[in-house]
Symmetry: C2
Subunit: 600 residues, 2 copies
């Protein structure tokens, strides 16, 4: 750990002493509880150097503790080594570990003063923390708590806005929200979650890296829709068309800073529906102070936008065609470069892939920072390529590449683990067992109403039988030109009751990670579709959206059943048939070779 | 439906009219919320003729509705045909369907009067129902509501008590409960659940058919333990030894009828811990009236008794040896009788099996009514053999037999589906696919902390892939000389978060049911055990307890993998090796034949 972080934590402690705070609790999120916050809100990175998402930090006079989940644990261990900051595991963001710690830490306290950043703590988390010290201390909400220690703190990004015609249309979506409010006997609804605002307004920008969000709030009442957007975005000439179209649909545009005053737009005593997970404590307090009656509940947008419309499904298929072409071209280029003895670093590989994606005219950006990891680096599920001296790829072992694109026609996310030459028996076994898990889930048929957690084990059973496992979700929802991670559905161990439904897009990405050795992950996106109906009920299955071959050279085919080989051969054949018309003759010949049927 | 039931419902409606009740709601349970109530509390059977457990009944002036779960649905449909009683599905006992109906039925009511039987409605259900009509009506709790219409209503059974030396011992169990109370800052604890009372007191009787329970309540305070038992049991000469031993351990014995006055044993204002699922509304009201402060929560007994002690595990293994011998002798006898052209009815088969179990000196009773179902009968997961003219077994197709024993050394539960001759291709396919599911779960390895709902799909995946399914749980917990169904663990679709833990005993019983054709179920009991620990964490697996061969003659071996065949051959070989020393020469030779390895 560099001295700069030790100094910053020391400065925070000085501030704590001056203000008589016994602890400061910070999250790695922003005022909208975004998974990927803008630079301004990377508070934990500023204080500790640890940049993973989904973290929490508590600092007292003599202790500093960072919580993160399994995905980032090994990484955090390295970053924090020697820093004096202790590292703890959390099951999930905001899942209560911070509150438990607080409750324990101050169990015998009297009048403890716990400072939180009111802008980046959700009303839900604030409630948990307040309860955790109830009777023994109080929470002090401070907006932009770290700013005094952070002279060059970045401003919020303010990028140009653009709209597009969604199948449903903005007016229909607003009508849906108004109908929801009526059913909830509410006078209005406030959306704080950036993906939900973007979906409702059919508007995008790139305020958040990799994710086409506009930093904003949306207030919907029976009479009007008020959109609170940053001044820079409003004033950007590139935003003009989008703003005109929004205005034409009756949307009133206000400055973002007015959001904390939005109570002025509302009458005292009205009932306002909010999701406490995406409403920050500062805004909640402002609403309460203005006499607004907050009705808390799950957002109606999340479940609705998770179900793709027919048009979105068609577009998503095109996004995967475009993406598959780019990834196949990349894999071809990589193989040829290595064959030619060229020095290719992890960073080179990531750049090439980005360039190949960007060549398509519908490309807007990558959907997250490409994970380009050779050998031991791939043992970190969320590896970040070093900016300098990135490791070189060698002509043996496994190269893991997890990447995705934001296209006008949708969002993609794909991982391929590429054998670059001779592999060890353990690499081959891991590669094959993860493939078995991937196939088991991809080919599953399951009754209507089944939540993802009930079929998560299908992707793990082959690993479990050899006492292997992985610490991340098997599958996450993926947005439509929105976040690459979105709910409410998922396929993971925790008992999320949301059923998988036709029209949902989820990833299938089992893996195995061996610290210091290698990592394997095979990831496709899948569309949940209706299969059939019979005397036993209605059946669902998945249609694989991702189009990119799986390399068979590292497979231990003797571990695969005939059904598994059939699946793999059929998938690779489909990839070749679909993509080859868009490839050069040389690339197509190479892909034909790569996808030639595996004989048991 | 016979006229007698129509008459009884008419009489109930007359009573409702006289007393100005708008509805009567009854459950199929008893004052202890038992799964299998004594005859006196089979209220739904009395009113409708439907005898399945886990039912609910609502009667209004012009409607009567019965709720039951999937297990009993086909059966209930037959029983209620033409009765005017409508049938609805419920997901699980007391899971809220009654409350939802009530809320809907009386949504615009004012001052509705809803009568419930206060003795057979749990405090939990009563709360749900009260909430469902809040502001629009009130609940009227009546104890033994049906008695005026039921002149010869059976008295409660009062059978002799016996004790046995559990490994932990009664004093240690009482100390555990007192420690629990201290941690909960309670002055005492009231157990209403019959299995929990039996476990704590190390006492048994047969007040409930098939289940060695004593109808009683147990009050544990810091100072004393008071056991409220029926007079007939106390006065039975056979109970003397048990009562002396209990008294020697400081247990005060009181008459059952005093339980409703047990508040007299407590000081006004003390805090009493109760599980509202097993506390009936009448007793709850009595406690409240006496100023007792009821603290509601899960019982500490349930989770503790689910984990077998080492001694209980050894005994359970012996119970399965004894049981396996009886079932193999039965299967031998059955096959020989049919071969000899003897007429064997479903009832004969059930009687033979009961007699063979009873031959062992540790046998106490069957653990539930044997399901002995040939052909279409087996399509009802909870088939009841007709008392007269039971169908004859034929030398073709499938015979399903689900049965179990209560032995001094434990409780068993086993289902074998027996091919009696030529089987149709569909019978064979169903038989084989259910076997695949059975093997997948039996041989599963899974991480410590995994709840049963996460591995339920392993037993269904092979069925799902051919779009087949079954509507009951894959596995339920089994008690130790207690109920054949016990929690908190289970392996079923609903998201019960209880992790499977070493020492738990669960069933593995996937099935397929085809109305009018046949049913298949393969059931063993399994002990959850530690497997190993490695870099990926701690691993658990199952040890199969049940010892009885699976017949391979109906298997479509081409549908089985090598691993599945290996599992089956190894299991059958173990059954032969373990049981053959206890069989006659002829039986052993037959079993050797039955268990000879299947070659793919």
């Amino acid at each position: 750990m560099e001295n700069i972080y030790l100094e910053r934590i020391a400065e925070l402690r000085t501030m704590m002493q001056t203000r008589d705070w016994d602890a400061v609790i910070l999250t790695g999120s922003d005022p909208h509880n975004s998974e990927y916050p803008p630079e301004r809100y990377k508070q934990i990175l500023f204080l500790t150097g640890f940049g993973g998402e989904a973290a929490g930090l508590a600092v007292t006079a003599d202790e500093a503790i960072l919580w993160t989940d399994t995905r980032y644990y090994i990484d955090a261990k390295q970053v924090l080594a020697g820093s004096g900051i202790s590292l703890r595991r959390q099951a999930k963001l905001n899942s209560g570990e911070l509150a438990s710690w607080l409750s324990e830490q101050f169990q015998d306290a009297e009048g403890a003063q716990i400072a939180i950043d009111a802008l980046t703590t959700s009303a839900q988390l604030e409630g948990l923390l307040r309860e955790a010290v109830a009777g023994r201390g109080e929470l002090i909400g401070v907006s932009d708590l770290l700013s005094p220690l952070w002279p060059d703190r970045p401003e919020l990004p303010q990028t140009p806005l653009f709209t597009f015609d969604s199948e449903e249309g903005r007016s229909a979506k607003l009508a849906f929200l108004r109908e929801f409010c009526r059913r909830q006997q509410c006078d209005g609804l406030l959306l704080g979650s950036l993906d939900e605002v973007a979906w409702t307004m059919d508007v995008r920008a790139f305020d958040i890296e990799y994710t086409p969000f506009v930093i904003s709030y949306l207030l919907v009442t029976e009479k009007e829709a008020v959109w609170y957007v940053l001044k820079g975005s409003i004033e950007d000439p590139g935003s003009r068309e989008a703003l005109e179209r929004l205005a034409a649909d009756g949307v009133r545009i206000e400055d973002y800073s007015a959001a904390l005053l939005l109570a002025d737009d509302l009458q005292d005593g009205i009932r306002l529906y909010c999701n406490p997970q995406c409403l920050n404590a500062a805004l909640r307090d402002a609403l309460c102070a203005a006499g607004i009656d907050i009705v808390e509940g799950d957002s109606p947008v999340e479940a609705r936008k998770a179900i793709r419309t027919e048009g979105e499904i068609e577009a998503t298929r095109r996004a995967h065609l475009i993406d598959g072409i780019a990834v196949e071209k990349f894999l071809f280029k990589l193989e040829k470069a290595l064959e030619a003895g060229q020095a290719v670093s992890e960073r080179d590989a990531a750049l090439w892939l980005g360039q190949l994606r960007a060549a398509n005219e519908e490309y807007l950006s990558d959907s997250f920072e490409t994970i380009s990891a050779y050998g031991p680096g791939a043992a970190l599920p969320h590896y970040v390529v070093p900016e300098e001296n990135a490791p070189l790829l060698r002509r043996k072992g496994l190269f893991l590449c997890d990447s995705g694109g934001q296209y006008l026609c949708g969002t993609t996310d794909i991982t391929r683990t590429v054998p670059l030459g001779e592999c060890t028996p353990l690499e081959k076994e891991d590669y094959t067992l993860v493939m078995k898990g991937h196939i088991a889930l991809s080919s599953a048929i399951f009754p209507e109403g089944t939540p993802g957690c009930r079929i998560d084990a299908l992707a793990r059973d082959a690993l479990w039988r050899t006492r292997r496992n992985f610490g991340h979700a098997t599958g996450h929802g993926v947005g439509f030109l929105l976040s690459v991670h979105e709910g409410p559905e998922c396929i993971r161990p925790d008992l999320n009751p949301t059923p998988l439904q036709p029209g949902m897009v989820v990833s299938c990405e089992p893996g195995i990670y061996r610290e210091g050795l290698h990592g394997v992950r095979h990831e496709n996106l899948m569309l949940c579709v209706r299969d059939s109906e019979n005397e036993f009920g209605a059946w669902l299955r998945f249609e694989t959206l991702t189009l990119c071959h799986f390399d068979s050279s590292a497979l231990m085919t003797e571990l695969l059943t005939k059904e598994e080989l059939d699946w793999l051969n059929a998938y690779n054949a489909r990839v070749y048939a679909t993509l080859s018309p868009y490839l050069s003759e040389e690339e197509a010949a190479w892909l034909r070779e790569k996808t030639s049927p595996i004989i048991a």
